[in-house]
Symmetry: C3
Subunit: 357 residues, 3 copies
Amino acid sequence: MVAAKTGNGEAHSSEAFTRLYSPRKIDGSFTGKHIVTVEQFSYLDLQDLFQLALSLRERVRQGDRSLIEIGAGKVMATLFYEASTRTDMSFQAAMHRLGGAVVSTSGGVQFSSVYKGENLADTLRAVGCYADVIVLRHPDVGSSYEAAYYLDKLHTRLDRHPVIVSGGDGIGEHPTQALLDLFTITDYKNGIDNLTVTMVGDLRNGRTVHSLSKLIAQYEAKNVTFCFVSPDILQMPAYIQDFLVQRGYQVHQTSELDEVLATSDVIYWTRVQEERFANPADYEAIRDHFVMTPEVLSRAKSDAILMHPLPRKHEMGTQSDHDVLDEDPRAVYFGQMENGMFVRMALLAKVLGLAGA
Amino acid sequence: MVAAKTGNGEAHSSEAFTRLYSPRKIDGSFTGKHIVTVEQFSYLDLQDLFQLALSLRERVRQGDRSLIEIGAGKVMATLFYEASTRTDMSFQAAMHRLGGAVVSTSGGVQFSSVYKGENLADTLRAVGCYADVIVLRHPDVGSSYEAAYYLDKLHTRLDRHPVIVSGGDGIGEHPTQALLDLFTITDYKNGIDNLTVTMVGDLRNGRTVHSLSKLIAQYEAKNVTFCFVSPDILQMPAYIQDFLVQRGYQVHQTSELDEVLATSDVIYWTRVQEERFANPADYEAIRDHFVMTPEVLSRAKSDAILMHPLPRKHEMGTQSDHDVLDEDPRAVYFGQMENGMFVRMALLAKVLGLAGA
Amino acid sequence: MVAAKTGNGEAHSSEAFTRLYSPRKIDGSFTGKHIVTVEQFSYLDLQDLFQLALSLRERVRQGDRSLIEIGAGKVMATLFYEASTRTDMSFQAAMHRLGGAVVSTSGGVQFSSVYKGENLADTLRAVGCYADVIVLRHPDVGSSYEAAYYLDKLHTRLDRHPVIVSGGDGIGEHPTQALLDLFTITDYKNGIDNLTVTMVGDLRNGRTVHSLSKLIAQYEAKNVTFCFVSPDILQMPAYIQDFLVQRGYQVHQTSELDEVLATSDVIYWTRVQEERFANPADYEAIRDHFVMTPEVLSRAKSDAILMHPLPRKHEMGTQSDHDVLDEDPRAVYFGQMENGMFVRMALLAKVLGLAGA
């Protein structure tokens, strides 16, 4: 095991652990594996996971009470160093719907010993002494890698092997968001082959769209066309575009939604934040091109789906715009959100190696 | 469905939803109905609910472990936009005693995406994607109506129908407090007919006493006399007094407790807050008339009951006064508090349509 | 029952309740007893508790799902007035692993009615109306005594008898920490007779080392030698040293670790805080003598154990030092931490009188 040392005895940054720690591929077996990146999943792994998510969703809808036998006796801890209502609550609900228990710091992490100066490595191992699976949300890139690294070290000392599931690490990755996004596409469009997938907004900084793009490729989707619509300074990074092209996908990059709106099957909407622009005038110049409204949606295909990771602000217009959009059958973001719970149920059941799921 | 729009596309205030949304009467069936106001309950509904609360209380006291099969597999979310230890914890304990699970935002709502600017309608629907019942506490009047309105909209899109139970909305309503208060009266006094019910304190702003007054009338209590004791500027609103008179009840209004103390069967004590008085001298002039002490209680009927919604401050004197009052058999506020859990158990079981309760 | 009054009607300080309230000895029966001090436990009680902790640990490790039948239907409340990730989460996990439920104030106590001015006595009884066992963490000495006192008063009014388990009260006591510490010594060293137990750091203010010292004596350990290593101004209080000497133990006091390091079987490390020193130069002069590093540990016996209550800071050197120490078989602080959960499971099962444990 490579020790995480630096010359002066100071801790590595979390980011350094993306190099020190190599997450294990799922490769047909989820049990006991930390989930830190979408790169761990192959087509078959995803099929396997989505199959289970569908089955669990059906059982929840039918009120199948035997579900709670699946995770009975297991303990999940949530460790959220920043707020995320959706990720937090959907993981909690997922664990509970499997019959498992959830522990968290009363009052949130900000009211805990972390704020008395304990580092992530130690807090993580404390929680690892009590829980079977830990959901970590942390603002630093690489924090979930660091968590996995130190939990493996703990395993060498104690007769227990808790797993970490990333709930998002800063501008790094948010793997379960990508999983639920891909699941939602396959769910509403009966697969993903031959679709035109359009992503709109801040594609440079949006980890959501980065991870989803990669995951679609790993899902071995056939004949998908990617359309990336963003302000010029917020384009999808070249390394992701190159990756997709190398995998044989068509990639269109533009700042004009209308170039691709009418032919898009999937419209994945995200926010453009004013603070990304050094000059406010530059933001004002493009702002209105990145607002989804009922009028914009009216020009999309009748069987397109409109996705959004939520929460949403002005990028979906006013509250009145929301109210109209929300009634449109193409707006699937609530179903997308609910799918998050089912995908997380499936993932928890699999990494914990639970029978009966 | 009436859309919640205004001309300029801005969101309605929560308060507007008290007009846009009409809560369904219980009318013999609780299942799937949002609970936002005491006006939903008829005499028979209340009888039904209180019967169940009594039965559940008995089973809890006997340590009946089959209770936890009632709500097994169900998920309640708490969404508290302001603090309320009693309401929060008693709902949590109620759900757990039925065997259900509870999710909440780690660190409270103030540490969540709400504080990144998401509106109630969206947060509510996020939680509605994960939970079967949501307990909402919010400082804005009408917020529970707004919640019900948007959850019904969510229902039209997803195959799920979570219900909201109000945990209090500002100076508006706090229906479960009124339910537990009425239950407590019937519990300790074997019914409510022919009683003199005296409410003391700030009756103008106290939602607790407003709701309880209305609920007593809806319970079709016979021959109840209401005594409202308050400073002149904090009297019970005329519309509630009129409502009671129209229902045939005797109503006495006074600022002198001694006029009614010796004949009261139920003494419901609440706080008078200094900040309600523009002139501090006005407050000082009446302050001592609205402090319950052992000496005051000694002048009450021997079988009267003293209630208080708690928490209490100086309106029950010093800590020494508390210690003496708490030993008095007439002081039933701890029993009242405990009853809150049993009434909430009954209500949760009923709105979730749980068998075995 | 002695009433807790003062002449002017003001509340007693929490500290006064250490005189007003006498905790009941366990004396062979834990059921229904508040746990506020290590002084409640005899040798046989400790044997009994540790036996159960061992058995529960074995069952958790084997994945025995019948564990969750032990506490099914029981409700634990956590009431933390200050942060303590380890104590909080390990109690939560302990209760869940027994199948019980946990309630807490959403957003922590600081976001609750406590901060609207409610006193501990009232908050405690509110929670006591809902829960079967309450874990209280509070910065004031005597707060757990006060809690026990008022819960007993509540018991005289309601048909319920919740118990309090102290999770630490300021610089007073932290009984479950002492229990898990003693359990860990007996666990790793197969008993405690004939050992040399060395405690290092701020022994004047460290409740952990005070309680552990007393508990070792109550455990009737034979032929234990206590070595107390501290800066001169932070020595173990005389009353504890006297107590140990009277019980027939050898006690060595020194400011030089090297006098005792090579003969110590148990090394219990704690932090020396700069703020204890009026003169920063005094702190600087001794600082480096109270830092555990791999180099220091290399001079300890090969079968010694290094314990620490955690969290740790500079008293275990740099992150690199941590990484090396953590790999040393003598460093047992992670096992110590995990044992905390098993000891708390045993204690909860016993005070709740649960069958099947």
